[in-house]
C-alpha cells in the first residue's frame, strides 16, 4: 500500500456525480438534431463571402488612379501579401487540428501578431509612389481616417461570420482566436485599401493601412469572445 498522500488521492475512484439537472432533462426531452460544425466548409464560405463583399466595397470606392504607374511586382506581391494575411489567420482561427473541437489559438495568436506587426513594418519599409500619387505627410495625417473607416468596414463581414461559425467552440483562447479573425478581416481591409488608396506617404501606408489590421484585431479581441460564448 502506498503512503504518498497524492498517490492515495490519485488512486481514489471517481466521485459519484449528481443526476442530470431538471433543466437539462427538460431540454433533452425536446432534443432535435443539429447540424454540427464543418470548419473547412465554413472557412471557404467565410473567405468567399468576404472577398465578394470586399470587391463590392472596392467597386463603390473605385480603384486607385496611380495603379498603372507603380511597379507591377509590388502591386501583385503586396496584394498577395494582404490576401495571405487575410486567409492564414482566418484558417487558424476557424479550422481545428484533426480530431479536436477547439481551434488552434496559439498558432492563431502568432498569426495575428505577425500580421499586425508585419503590415505596419511593410508599409514603413516599402511604399512606392507615382506621379498621380498623393502625399499627406504628418501635416494631413488625420485625413487618413477615411481609409481606416473603409478598412474596418471591410473587416466587419469576416469577423461577424467567424463569430457566428465559432459560437460555442471557444471555451479557452477566445481572445486570441478573435484577434486572429480581426487581423484576418483587417488584412482584407488592407487589400481593399491597397487597390483603392493613392496616398503613398510612409505614415499613411504604415500607420493607417497597417493600422487597420491592428485596430481590427484589438476590436475583435475585445468584442468577439462575448458574442461567441454560450451561456
Amino acid at each position: 500500500m502506498s503512503h504518498d498522500p497524492l498517490d492515495e488521492l490519485a488512486a481514489l475512484p471517481p466521485s459519484a456525480p449528481p443526476p442530470l439537472a431538471a433543466a437539462l432533462e427538460t431540454e433533452l426531452d425536446a432534443l432535435r438534431p443539429v447540424a454540427t460544425r464543418r470548419p473547412v466548409r465554413q472557412l471557404v464560405m467565410l473567405v468567399a463571402v468576404s472577398l465578394i463583399y470586399g470587391a463590392g466595397i472596392l467597386a463603390i470606392v473605385t480603384t486607385r488612379r496611380d495603379a498603372s504607374e507603380l511597379p507591377m511586382g509590388w502591386m501583385v506581391g503586396a496584394g498577395l501579401g494582404w490576401l495571405f494575411g487575410f486567409v492564414i489567420p482566418c484558417h487558424l482561427a476557424m479550422v481545428p487540428r484533426t480530431g479536436t473541437v477547439m481551434p488552434r489559438w496559439r498558432l492563431a495568436a502568432i498569426a495575428a501578431t505577425i500580421t499586425a506587426i508585419g503590415f505596419v513594418m511593410l508599409g514603413a519599409l516599402i511604399h512606392p509612389s507615382g506621379p498621380s500619387s498623393t502625399q499627406y505627410g504628418a501635416e494631413h495625417f488625420a485625413r487618413g481616417h477615411a481609409c481606416l473607416e473603409i478598412g474596418l468596414a471591410t473587416a466587419v463581414v469576416p469577423i461577424v461570420l467567424g463569430t457566428i461559425f465559432l459560437r460555442g467552440a471557444l471555451p479557452v483562447g477566445s481572445r486570441w482566436i478573435a484577434a486572429a479573425l480581426g487581423a484576418g478581416g483587417g488584412s482584407l481591409g488592407g487589400l481593399v485599401l491597397h487597390l483603392h488608396c493613392h496616398v503613398t506617404d510612409v505614415l499613411h501606408v504604415s500607420l493607417v493601412h497597417g493600422g487597420v489590421v491592428v485596430v481590427a484585431a484589438l476590436l475583435a479581441a475585445a468584442m468577439v469572445p462575448r458574442a461567441a460564448d454560450v451561456r
Partner: protein
C-alpha cells in the same frame, strides 16, 4: 457525441455517464465544495448541450468538455470571489467515490487512507488556482501535459512550469505536516 447531435437523447446520457465521474472529481478538487462542484457540473453539461452544434464530427469531445468546465469554474469563482473555498467539514471531500460501474472506494482492493486523502486535499487547497489545476489534471486526473494545457488554454511550457511548481509546493506542505505530526 455524433449520435447525440443527431437527436439521440440516450447518447447524451451515455456521454454524461462516461465523462461526468472524472469531470466531477476535477471540479470537486478545484472548487473544494461539493455543492459548488454539483452546480458547475450541471452548468458545464448545459453549456455543452447548448453548444453541441460547435462539435466537429469525429473529434474527441472530452478536452472540449473539460475546457468548458474550466471556463465555467473560472467564471463562477470570479463571480462569487471564492477561488479557494476551505471547508472544514468532511462532507465536502470526495470520500464517497464511485466509478462508472458503481464501484466505490470501499470495494477496491486497496482502500484509500482517509487521513492521507484529507491531508492531500487540504494541501491541494492551499495551492494557487493555476498550480492546483495543473496538479489535478496531470497528477490526479492522468492527463498529459499537452492535454492539460489545451484544457486550461495555456501553452505546454507554462503548464509544465505550473505542474512542477504546484507539485513541489504540495510536497513541501505535506512534508511540513508530517514533520509537525512527528514533532
Amino acid at each position: 457525441m455524433a449520435r447525440y447531435c443527431d437527436g439521440d437523447a440516450s447518447a447524451f446520457r451515455e456521454l454524461y455517464a462516461a465523462v461526468s465521474p472524472r469531470l466531477y472529481g476535477y471540479l470537486v478538487k478545484m472548487a473544494r465544495h461539493r455543492s459548488l462542484a454539483d452546480d458547475l457540473l450541471q452548468q458545464t453539461f448545459l453549456k455543452v448541450h447548448r453548444a453541441r452544434a460547435a462539435y466537429v464530427r469525429g473529434a474527441d469531445p472530452v478536452p472540449w468538455i473539460y475546457a468548458i468546465a474550466h471556463r465555467t469554474f473560472i467564471d463562477e469563482t470570479r463571480k462569487v470571489k471564492r477561488a479557494i473555498v476551505r471547508v472544514a467539514d468532511g462532507d465536502d471531500l470526495p470520500e464517497v467515490g464511485a466509478d462508472i460501474a458503481g464501484r466505490t472506494a470501499g470495494s477496491v482492493d486497496e482502500p484509500a487512507d482517509p487521513t492521507l486523502v484529507k491531508e492531500a486535499l487540504d494541501a491541494l487547497a492551499q495551492l494557487p488556482e493555476q498550480q492546483r489545476e495543473a496538479v489535478v489534471l496531470t497528477k490526479l486526473d492522468g492527463k498529459s501535459v499537452a492535454e492539460a494545457a489545451e484544457i486550461a488554454g495555456t501553452t505546454v511550457g507554462a503548464m509544465k512550469v505550473r505542474a512542477h511548481r504546484g507539485y513541489e509546493a504540495l510536497r513541501k506542505l505535506l512534508r511540513g505536516r508530517a514533520n509537525q505530526e512527528v514533532g
